[in-house]
Symmetry: C2
Subunit: 327 residues, 2 copies
C-alpha cells in the first residue's frame, strides 16, 4: 500500500508527541523519517521508526537533551550531543556549519555523544539546499572486518558529499561496506543473489550469496583494502575531531548509541554551476554495457524515487504500518 507524505509525517509526529517529544522536535524527526521513506530509503524511514521509538522508551535517546557547543577553534566547533535524537542534533550541527561557511567560506562542527542520524544523505541535501557543499560522516557499531581480518572491527561509517545544483543536487551517500545489512536482507528475502560479491562465506571465499555473508558477518569493504582504510580514517576523523567515542568504544557499550560525527560545509555561492552539468553530461556520454542501462550521477535515483513517491504516494510495508499505528 501507499500513503501520502503528509499522512505519513503526521502519523509519525503524533506518536512522537505521545511519547513526550516537544512540538519542534516531533515535527523535525517525523519529517526526516517521512522524507527518508519518500526518497526510497525505507530502511531508515518508516521501517526504522519502531526501533527508534523503542530506544526512546529505553532512554537511549534523550528526547529533551540539548546539544551544546563546548569549544571553538576558529571556524571549527566542538559539540556535545548529550544523546539527544540524532536527526535533531545532526540538523542543528549542519545548520551551524552552513552559517559558519556563509560567513567564513568554510565551517565545521564535530559532535560527540550523538545518536544515529538515520540517512546521512539527509544532511547533504540540507547543505545543498542552503547553497553549500556539505561533507559529513558518522561512525557506527563495528559491523565489518578490516581487510585481511575476519572479525568486525570497523563501522560502515557512511560518508556524504553533496554539491548544490539547480536541476537536482549531487548527493553521494556512501557506506564503506559494499552492501549494508539492510540490502543483504532485501536480496535474501527476494531469494536473489547479489549483483557482485558482498563478502566471504564460511571458507573465506568471496560470495554473492547474501545469506552466507550474513551468516559469517564477513561483509566486504568497498574495494577491499581501500574501503577498509577509508572506514578506519573516517572513524579517526569523527572520533578525534569530536573527542567522542570510536567504533571500538561504541561497540564495547553493546548498543549503537553515543556515536561521533562531523559536518563540514563550504559556501558554494560563487561556484559555476556549469561545471557539474559538464561533468554529468560527460559521464553519461559513455556507451553503456547493456541496452537500456544508464550511467547515473550520485543523487539521481533518489530524486526520481522522490518524484514518483510524491506523485503516487509512499510505499509502506503493511505489517510495519499497522505496527506503527499501534505505537
Amino acid at each position: 500500500m501507499r500513503v501520502s507524505f503528509g499522512k505519513l509525517k503526521s502519523q509519525l509526529k503524533s506518536i512522537l508527541l505521545k511519547h513526550g517529544f516537544g512540538e519542534e522536535r516531533a515535527e523535525l524527526c517525523a519529517r526526516i523519517f517521512a522524507e527518508n521513506s519518500r526518497d526510497g530509503v525505507y530502511s531508515h524511514g518508516l521501517n526504522r521508526f519502531p526501533v527508534f521509538v523503542q530506544l526512546v522508551k529505553e532512554g537511549a535517546v534523550a528526547i529533551h537533551a540539548t546539544p551544546a557547543s563546548i569549544s571553538r577553534h576558529g571556524v571549527v566547533e566542538h559539540w556535545d550531543g548529550h544523546n539527544a535524537p540524532g536527526m535533531y542534533t545532526a540538523t542543528l550541527a549542519m545548520q551551524r556549519a552552513i552559517a559558519l561557511a556563509k560567513e567564513n567560506g568554510m565551517g565545521c562542527v564535530a559532535v560527540k555523544n550523538t545518536n544515529h542520524w538515520m540517512r546521512g544523505g539527509t544532511y547533504g541535501w540540507q547543505a545543498a539546499d542552503a547553497g553549500c557543499i556539505g561533507i559529513c560522516a558518522t561512525n557506527s557499531i563495528a559491523n565489518m572486518p578490516p581487510y585481511g581480518g575476519t572479525e568486525p572491527r570497523l563501522g560502515n561509517n557512511p560518508l556524504v558529499i553533496a554539491v548544490p545544483r539547480k536541476e537536482g543536487h549531487l548527493v553521494l551517500d556512501m557506506a564503506m561496506s559494499q552492501f549494508s545489512y539492510g540490502k543483504l536482507q532485501e536480496y535474501e528475502l527476494k531469494g536473489e543473489m547479489l549483483p557482485v560479491a558482498g563478502g566471504y562465506d564460511e571458507n573465506g571465499v568471496l560470495t554473492k550469496d547474501p545469506a552466507k555473508v550474513r551468516a559469517t558477518g564477513r561483509v566486504l569493504p568497498v574495494g577491499f583494502w581501500k574501503g577498509s582504510g577509508l572506514s578506519l580514517m573516517l572513524d579517526v576523523l569523527v572520533s578525534a575531531l569530536s573527542g567522542g567515542r570510536s567504533v571500538a568504544e561504541i561497540t564495547a557499550t553493546g548498543t549503537e548509541a553515543g556515536v561521533s560525527q562531523f559536518f563540514l560545509c563550504l559556501d558554494a555561492g560563487t561556484l559555476d554551476e556549469s561545471v557539474s552539468e559538464d561533468i554529468i553530461a560527460y559521464a553519461k556520454s559513455s556507451i553503456v554495457l547493456e541496452e537500456g542501462a544508464q550511467v547515473l550521477y550520485p543523487g539521481e535515483r533518489t530524486l526520481s524515487t522522490r518524484h514518483r513517491n510524491e506523485a503516487e504516494g509512499i510505499p509502506v510495508n503493511e505489517a510495519i504500518w499497522q505496527q506503527v499505528l499501534a505505537l
Copy 2:
C-alpha cells in the same frame, strides 16, 4: 641496484638545474621524486622522472611560473597554478592551508591550472608533519569508465586523508580505480593475475587478468558504483572549488596537464593522540584470514618501506637509472 637517498636526490637535482630550474625548485622537486622512491612509490619517483623532464622540455610544465592566490572567501583561497611544476604548487598550497588551519582551525586552498602532483600522499605527510589533518584531492585525465559505462569518462582522482600520529602518521592515499595502470603493468610484467578483479575483459566480464583490463581500458572503480560516484564527486569538488578544468576538459586537451586540486587542513594541535592508537589496536585485534597475514593501517606499509630503503638504499631500475644519468 640500490642508491642512497642523498645520491638519488642530488642526481635528480643536478638534472633539473641543468634544465633551467632555479635552486629552490630544483631542490624541492628532486626531494619529492627521491622521497617517492624512498617510500616505495617508484612509479611516481625515479621511474616517472624522465617523463617529467620531457614535459619540462615541451613546455607543458612552466618551470619559472609562480602560482598565485587570485581570490579569497574567508578561510578558502583560490589559486591559479599557472602550470608551474605540480609538486611545487601542491607543496605551497598545502603549506598555505596549514597556516590557515593553525590560525582559523581550518583552511582550504583550491588550485586551478596546476600540474601532476606525482604521489598525493606527499602532501598528506606534509600536513601531518605540521600537526594538521590534511585532506586533498586532484583530478586527472579520463582513465576509467563510470559504473555501467564502457568508455573512460572518469579520472582515478586520488583522495588523500592524513592524520598526525607520533608513531607514524595515518595517511590514506587512494585512487578511485581498484588498480592503477602502473599496478596492472607490474602484475602483467611479473606474469601474475591480480589478487581481485581489476576490470572487465572484451566480453564485459570481470577479470583478474591485468593484460585484458589494459586491453579494454575498462578499469574497475573501487566498489563498482560507489567508487564511480566518489570519483565523479571529487572531480566536481576540485573543478568547482578551483574554477579549473574538469576531467572532461583535461581529457579534451589530450595531455594530463592543467589539472584541478584542493588542499584542506584542520589543526590537529588539540586532538587526543590516543584515539588513533585505540582505533589501530582495535583493527589489528581482528583474527586474520591466513596465518602470517596482518591488518595494516593506512600509511603503515609506506613507513616500513621507508625505513628499509633508508637503511639499505633505494631500489632503482637499472635501465631507468642509466637513462636518468644521461639526461
